[in-house]
């Protein structure tokens, strides 16, 4: 009897909960979780080297990155030198022959890579001290062998050849060139000629210029304690010397005075790469940073943003259309709004991209759009807490970009303060529809004539012609 009663009530209870769920109503969020990034433990050694450690004992592995924070430099007629230095670093050391070095790293199941600006390694906890020691050896005692150098030159040349018909490669190369200029670190590009000008002595010179203790930051993340990390760093990097970096000068990127189309001919293209680019002075210390971050998200931050909804979900022109602001504190930052579209709709895609950019400064965004992006931003910050390397990255940015110490802890608060008016103001300032370059890389015989008839704000846009290396040409 009693049993039956219990059964009865539980059935009633079940029935009740079933009835309570109204699936036509979107569930409400629970209370928002707190964001707490914490800060790495830190130590600066006598030689100026900075160590940051984030202990995380969830998995029995440790990773380390070493970054050298140097000014940007132009490689000029030897463009490709830094790439070659990257491929030559980590080929063993003066103490360990390359084959033994590779064999030992693989034996430990570890990964270790060294570049012209630093190194990264990841290993099981039990092998970490040795992996760290080998990383230090590779950085401090690189060995540049003629035979290896030749091989890397050959591989680089072959790599260039292999991507010669790659539409995306050509598009990015010319977009960079036209955004920053040919004598700028981000505008110059690697060619067969420039690679062939590099000699092995150049590697040594560049290495000597790049690697100095006072500009170096080591971050260690994972299953290790701070004291051990500090001792290891002292032992293997304690004697690393300070030095001077020769600065490099290059012209400041300028925007065009009138919006125009740059057409890049790639006869094998079945899709056109369309990018709208411009540059601006903007770093994380700039008060406009927060509003512009939001504005960019509304324009093209993802699958819920205007570009995607218009060019993909409404028109079906493309698999995806987005915009990015590459924030840089060492040179101008660049805005790029883009899509890869089928040949037949290339001109229409240009029109829609420009329309959406223009609309940012002409109309106010809606409350709804603003709220959505703020939530999105908060969510992505919360989700980024999962990877402990982010804590180290935030600390690194704070130090090297001269940010206020609480920049990342206040980030969300500052984002939340952004208003509709702020967005309108920064859009007018940074999405200037009158001085944009539209770079279209594709098959001229299919797309050029319609492209030459594109009008924007009542004016036909001027079209300039380039080859796949960004050299001006006649109409193909």
């Amino acid at each position: 009897m009693k049993k039956a009663l219990i059964l009865l009530t539980s059935v009633a209870f079940f029935g009740l909960t079933q009835a309570q769920v109204d699936r036509s109503v979107q569930p409400q969020s629970g209370p928002a979780p707190e964001i707490n990034f914490g800060t790495p433990q830190e130590h600066q050694f006598k030689n100026g080297l900075t160590l940051m450690v984030v202990e995380n004992h969830k998995l029995p592995q440790v990773s380390v990155s070493l970054r050298v924070d140097n000014p940007l430099y132009v490689e000029g007629e030897k463009k490709g030198l830094s790439g070659l230095l990257s491929s030559m670093m980590g080929k063993g050391s003066k103490n360990i022959p390359k084959d033994d070095f590779d064999e030992e790293v693989d034996f430990m199941g570890a990964s270790l890579s060294v570049s012209s600006e630093g190194a990264y390694a990841n290993s099981l906890k039990r092998y970490f001290p040795r992996v760290f020691e080998m990383m230090a050896d590779a950085i401090l005692n690189p060995h540049f062998l003629e035979e290896e150098f030749k091989k890397e030159v050959d591989k680089t040349l072959e790599g260039l050849k292999s991507s010669e018909k790659n539409v995306k490669t050509a598009a990015r190369r010319v977009e960079n060139l036209l955004s920053y200029g040919k004598d700028h670190p981000f505008g110059e590009y690697v060619s067969e000629e420039s690679i062939n000008r590099v000699i092995i002595d150049d590697l040594e010179k560049l290495y000597q210029n790049n690697f100095h203790a006072q500009n170096a930051y080591i971050t260690i993340v994972g299953d290790i304690d701070f004291q051990t990390a500090k001792k290891l760093t002292q032992k293997y990097f304690g004697k690393w010397a300070k030095g001077t970096v020769t600065p490099s000068s290059f012209p400041k990127p300028e925007n065009v005075s009138q919006t125009q189309i740059a057409f890049v001919e790639m006869p094998n293209a079945v899709q056109s790469e369309v990018s709208v680019v411009s540059t601006a002075n903007l770093d994380r210390n700039n008060p406009d940073y927060y509003a512009l971050t939001i504005a960019n998200q509304i324009l093209g931050g993802g699958a819920e943003a205007r570009l995607f909804l218009n060019l993909r979900e409404d028109k079906g022109y493309t698999y995806g259309s987005y915009s990015r602001f590459d924030i840089n504190h060492k040179t101008k930052s660049r805005m790029r709004a883009f899509a890869a579209v089928r040949n037949a709709v290339t001109d229409s895609a240009v029109v829609e991209l420009l329309y959406e950019i223009d609309r940012m400064s002409k109309e106010m965004v809606t409350e709804e759009e603003l709220k959505l992006v703020k939530e999105k931003y908060a969510g992505s910050l919360i989700r980024s807490m999962e990877d402990p390397e982010n804590i180290a990255n935030f600390a690194y940015n704070t130090k090297t970009q001269n940010l206020p110490p609480n920049f990342y802890n206040n980030l969300l608060k500052n984002i939340q303060k952004v208003t509709i008016e702020d967005i309108s103001n920064v859009s007018k300032k940074y999405f200037n529809p009158a001085s944009m370059q539209v770079v279209v890389t594709g098959k001229g015989s299919d797309i050029l004539t319609p492209l030459e008839n594109v009008s924007f704000n009542g004016q036909k846009l001027k079209v300039l012609y380039y080859d796949k290396y960004g050299k001006p040409t006649d109409r193909p």
Binding site: T17, Q18, Q20, R23, Q26, P27, S29, G30, A32, P33, E34, K58, P60, Q61, D99, D102, E103, D106, F107, M108, G109, N122, S123, L124, D154, K155, E158, G159, K161, S162, S163, K165, N166, V167, K168, D223, P267, N268, V270, Q271, G302, A303, E304, R312, G316, T318, Y319, A340, R342, L372, E375, K376, A378, G379, S380, R383, M385, E386, D387, P476
Partner: protein
């Protein structure tokens, strides 16, 4: 009969965390409608992943209507009876989440990552998608164009983008693995709305799906919400899969393919090997690692490093449900001929077939697998995905997530030799010469 399958690995979770470092605790059960549920609690970060794996992929498609499973990966973001068209993405991101989906030959996987205060929302959205998605002509028409752009971007305009399609077309004569996930555009153009709706009705049902919830969750609360939103979704008729079997390959298949996006040719050696739920498939994974993972691996060291005849070399086993495809590929450097690469690769494979690998190399492989294993459980999203795949493709053995490393470690040197002999002989393979499109007029 409903089997109530409850594996409890939940006790002493914190203890496990401390002692084993990475034991993945989970709980699993079936709802009455056949939906399999897997829960994994990890409260270290306030995030949660909700995912649904539908056991439907390109191999389930009508050979005259390829690309359907992938097409649904687009259609099922269009909206549901309670989520207006075009609002799916903004509902996710507007609540701090991210989402995506992907399609393979065997399954389609949908997921959202949210801050953990939006778990209920994630469950609601996935249940809406399972119960009553809106599939209409407007959505079909738009996504048809989008998928074509995806195909152009990923395959037609992309260097070496068509190798997988080519390899599959030669290795599989009767089994639907000969189809590609992106499918044929003429099939999608010809497909009617009724055909799409029938496909949805047949495959996107609770008894063909696994719901995984992982992260910062409260188990009883999560179970209640799952009951609320998924419990009332009707079960569908059982799906019967009967795919034709391939005859063994006994003579080398030689073929050529052309790509207008490349200048450097490539050689693909491809073998048809056993499905993923087999010990031999794991042994082949070990052989791949031996051949091409890391700079000291046999093929990399020899072809790329010592002899400088190759720009790139890779060996990998693409593990699928019914068969796997084992591929060794290489791009020549300089004047090297593709034939030379084949000879050199064969020499290394023959060594594995004739001799035991060295004790030292064997120990290296054990370390490499341990390291990969530790990294593979680093994110909640990754753990959720692994749990679902283990359940679906390994006879319901979800706990493989905690045992797989031991399985790999139990593979002996003798087994490596035997498996190489059994599957990797030249007469069992396709040799695909992947060549630049012959020169036309060039500007």
């Amino acid at each position: 009969m409903k089997k109530f399958n409850l594996s409890l690995f939940f006790i002493l979770w914190m203890g496990c965390l401390f002692i084993y470092g990475q034991k993945v605790a989970f709980e699993e059960y079936d709802l009455d409608n056949g939906l399999h549920v897997i829960l994994h609690q990890d409260n270290s970060v306030p995030i949660v992943t909700t995912s649904v794996l539908y056991h439907v992929g390109s191999k389930d498609e009508n050979p005259e209507r390829t690309g359907f499973a992938h097409f649904f990966e687009h259609l099922l973001f269009e909206g549901t009876q309670n989520i207006p068209k075009g609002k799916w993405f903004s509902l996710v991101t507007g609540n701090g989440g991210s989402n995506n989906a992907y399609t393979t030959d065997d399954f389609t996987y949908y997921y959202e990552n949210f801050p953990s205060n939006n778990l209920k929302l994630g469950l609601w959205m996935e249940s809406e998608r399972m119960l009553h998605p809106i599939i209409d002509q407007g959505g079909v028409d738009t996504q048809n164009e989008v998928v074509k752009e995806e195909k152009r971007m990923r395959y037609d305009n992309s260097p070496y983008g068509k190798w997988n399609e080519e390899v599959k077309s030669y290795l599989y004569k009767v089994h639907p693995y000969r189809q590609t996930t992106i499918g044929k555009m003429e099939h999608l153009d010809a497909a009617t709305l009724e055909e799409f709706m029938a496909f949805n009705k047949k495959y996107y049902i609770p008894n063909n799906a696994v719901l995984t919830v992982a992260g910062d969750i409260d188990i009883p609360q999560t179970k209640k919400w799952i009951d609320d939103y998924f419990g009332s979704i009707p079960k569908g008729p059982e799906i019967v899969r009967k795919f034709p079997k391939e005859n063994p390959i006994t003579a080398t298949i030689k073929a050529e393919a052309f790509d207008s996006n490349i200048q450097i040719p490539a050689i693909f050696l491809a073998y048809r090997t056993p499905g993923r739920n087999s010990r031999d498939a794991r042994v082949l994974d070990v052989i791949s690692t031996y051949l091409s993972q890391g700079k000291s691996s046999k093929l990399y060291k020899k072809l790329v490093d010592d002899q400088k005849m190759s720009l790139q070399v890779a060996a990998f086993n693409m593990n699928d449900e019914d068969y796997s495809t084992y591929v060794i590929l290489s791009l020549p450097l300089g004047e090297t001929q593709l034939e030379t690469l084949v000879t050199e690769i064969d020499e290394e494979v023959e060594k594995i077939q004739k001799e035991l690998i060295s004790e030292k190399d064997y120990q290296k492989l054990q370390n490499q697998f341990e390291s990969d294993f530790v990294s593979s459980n680093a994110t909640i999203e990754g753990v959720a995905n692994s749990l679902a795949e283990y359940y679906v493709f390994y006879d319901g053995d979800t706990n493989l997530i905690n045992k797989e490393l031991d399985l790999y470690k139990s593979i002996t040197r003798e087994e490596i030799r035997t498996v190489a002999q059994k599957y990797l002989s030249p007469n069992q393979r396709l040799e695909l010469r992947y060549l630049p499109e012959p020169q036309k007029e060039e500007k």
